[in-house]
Symmetry: C2
Subunit: 411 residues, 2 copies
């Protein structure tokens, strides 16, 4: 039978993640990958988690093996509320302000499904985090692509777009601005405090929500922590976070924090989507953060990432620094830097050469929902060794030279 | 701010599960609940799972704590493929025909999101499983409510509706029929072989898909196993199953089996929804079914449920048998029976009296997406003890007598 004709409109258009496809060669022998943003599994506290999991399966089986509530494990919520108090000075969050999700991907998805329609608008960064684009696209809304600058979203651009919507009487269909406030993926940049305040002002003036996604905030190597947008405007900000970067991605634990009414609605969407998250993984994380200081535990990992970031900055400077018009971001945390190469270089087309030189990156075009800047790439520094970072960048330079020569692009 | 105005159309309409609300009193002292369909947690193999979880966290941490593929753990797929061979004689299923989901609720949800649009039609049983209704409703399709009879869906009714759609040129918008083939929730009935074959004929004639949901099939106490619809028409059937009833619901593991193209599309929807299921719970189940014979392990549980079903049938006969026009289903497996009381009795209204008499059931109106038959109720027999089943039915009779008397309904 013709299955295509049976698909929903969205499913007819949906494409699989380019990254997935590109990274299939990541494990080929000799390959150096700056592609994936996955943490090093050897940094996960496997023995502590093994102990706890045995314990809770034996002693708390009536909870961990049974259906849970859609809202999530109250023990995990309690632990997370304590972290918010201790590390962010946020002391007003209650159980009713929080729902536990299957990773922050589900958090993004539930927010999109709960707030967006086909005729809705949402503001996103340009470039945008791929997972957010695919999550929001399930409702096929209209994206307003806000250029990402070194200190966050270009709010002048946003304000002009909001004014246009206001003038054509569509402003009420503008639902939210989606912002990765710290160490943006893929951009590597952090929104400064002035812009966070300005964004809140705009949200109040034009009456929209802010969806603040902060998966990397805990991974700061240097510089000073900036107050979260949520802490500036808890009444109109939905805060998304995850345990994937600070504990282990395989547990698939994310969290949505916000106004009680919105959380209730998001919870109903989750009820339809999967009824509840696994009780076992939730209680496992709950007991872990009860017993250990999550941030003390990951401090060595953060130090490691910070050193690799320094090495990466050095390696880029040394190997690519002299390329005409080249630009790259200098992250104070997180996992990524974003490189912009001279116009005319198509990093997707160049990818084949990179594969042959055994170095991988993510072509920038994976991170746009409009016409992409094809001369960009995302570089991750968390997994390769210091030596691999230097060697990978030497290879990348060879690739760029070869490609530019073939195309007659002057670099 | 006015959050309501920021919600998607679907979220404005969505309601929380009635069952959830009703069962909040289930744990009150002295309460006998025929409400929830949850298995007894003491039947879960907690010590075996504790052993395995410790093992895999220590020895397979690079897998169980890391992101997995959206399709799911190949080890779990391998184990499930073996079960299909061993117990259903289905020997053609490959990895590409299968995606692992976060419980069968997510399976239902992904199927709905991948196949349905607002202008689509789907055929569902009347009464319908609540979880399926809420999952499919996320795309707000048009439901064709097919009456459920003692031997499954009323296919004459379905055929008449299909003819109507054909005549008005809408038949191509009819996407699938959703059928719980064994021990229907809430109906308790099983679709006989003739009807399964007839449904396949209709699917071929009118070119639609069949979504076969079989969470209870393994819980057969008596009678002979009926070949699955999927085994009759693998080319146009999507088979949904879950480990919740045969292993443990807290692991949230479901599976979707079907044509490779559809599975790929469903996988892309899952990629947007949550990226991947937890690696830990998947590998835990994989090692368990590798090491133990799943069905040998649950045989005692099935025997237990079967005995409770017999007790329930006896208790209904003894306590309600003489009520005028009363009818109830006699399940050969699963967890539920469906009672139809005399016209005029509103089981939702009667629920308050039941609470006072300390006996709980699920009012039938929770299981309709059209005007409900208010004189129905779902009764679960898996959790209460034999004594509680008898006492609970005595209490229910008192409730019915009291309610009928007040309303002047002759029973």
């Amino acid at each position: 039978m013709n299955f295509e004709s049976k698909l929903s409109e969205v499913s007819k258009r949906i494409k699989s993640s380019i990254i997935r496809e590109l990274l299939k060669v990541a494990n080929n022998p000799g390959m150096i990958s700056f592609g994936g943003g996955v943490p090093d599994p050897d940094t996960f506290p496997r023995n502590k988690l093994a102990e706890i999991s045995k314990e809770i399966l034996e002693n708390e089986h009536r909870f961990v093996l049974q259906y849970g509530t859609t809202e999530g494990d109250v023990e995990l919520k309690k632990g997370y509320i304590n972290l918010l108090k201790k590390y962010d000075g946020i002391d007003w969050v209650k159980d009713e302000n929080m729902v536990i999700t299957v990773g922050s991907q589900q958090a993004l998805y539930l927010v999109g499904m709960t707030l967006l329609d086909k005729n809705s608008y949402c503001g996103v960064s340009r470039p945008i985090y791929l997972g957010a684009a695919s999550a929001f696209s399930q409702r096929a809304p209209k994206f307003i692509n806000i250029p990402l600058t070194k200190d966050g979203l270009d709010l002048e651009y946003l304000e002009r777009e909001l004014e246009k919507l206001y003038e054509i009487g569509e402003i009420d269909k503008f639902k939210f601005v989606y912002a990765i406030s710290n160490f943006h993926n893929p951009g590597g940049v952090t929104m400064n405090l002035e812009k966070r305040k300005k964004l809140v002002e705009l949200a109040e003036k034009y009456d929209f929500l802010i969806v603040e996604d902060d998966p990397y905030g805990a991974l700061r190597f240097e510089g000073n922590k900036v107050p979260s947008i949520y802490s500036l405007a808890p009444n109109r900000t939905i805060l998304l976070n995850t345990f994937s970067k600070v504990l282990a991605p395989g547990l698939r634990l994310g969290v949505i924090i916000g106004d009680e009414f919105l959380i209730r609605k998001i919870t109903m969407t989750k009820q339809a989507a999967d009824l509840c998250s696994p009780s076992l993984t939730q209680r496992l994380a709950a007991r872990y953060i009860q017993r250990y200081d999550l941030y003390d535990e990951i401090a060595p990992t953060i130090k490691l990432y910070g050193e690799k970031k320094d090495t990466m900055m050095k390696a880029i400077e040394e190997n690519l620094g002299d390329i005409k018009d080249i630009d790259w971001t200098r992250p104070e945390g997180g996992l990524f830097t974003w490189i912009t190469l001279p116009k005319g270089i198509d990093t997707m087309e160049m990818f084949e050469m990179a594969k042959m030189e055994k170095v991988l990156y993510i072509p920038g075009e994976a991170f746009y929902v409009d016409e992409p800047d094809r001369n960009t790439m995302r570089i991750s520094f968390c997994l390769p060794s210091h030596e691999e970072i230097h060697e990978g960048m030497r290879r990348l330079r060879r690739v760029i030279d070869k490609y530019a020569k073939e195309k007659g692009i002057e670099i």
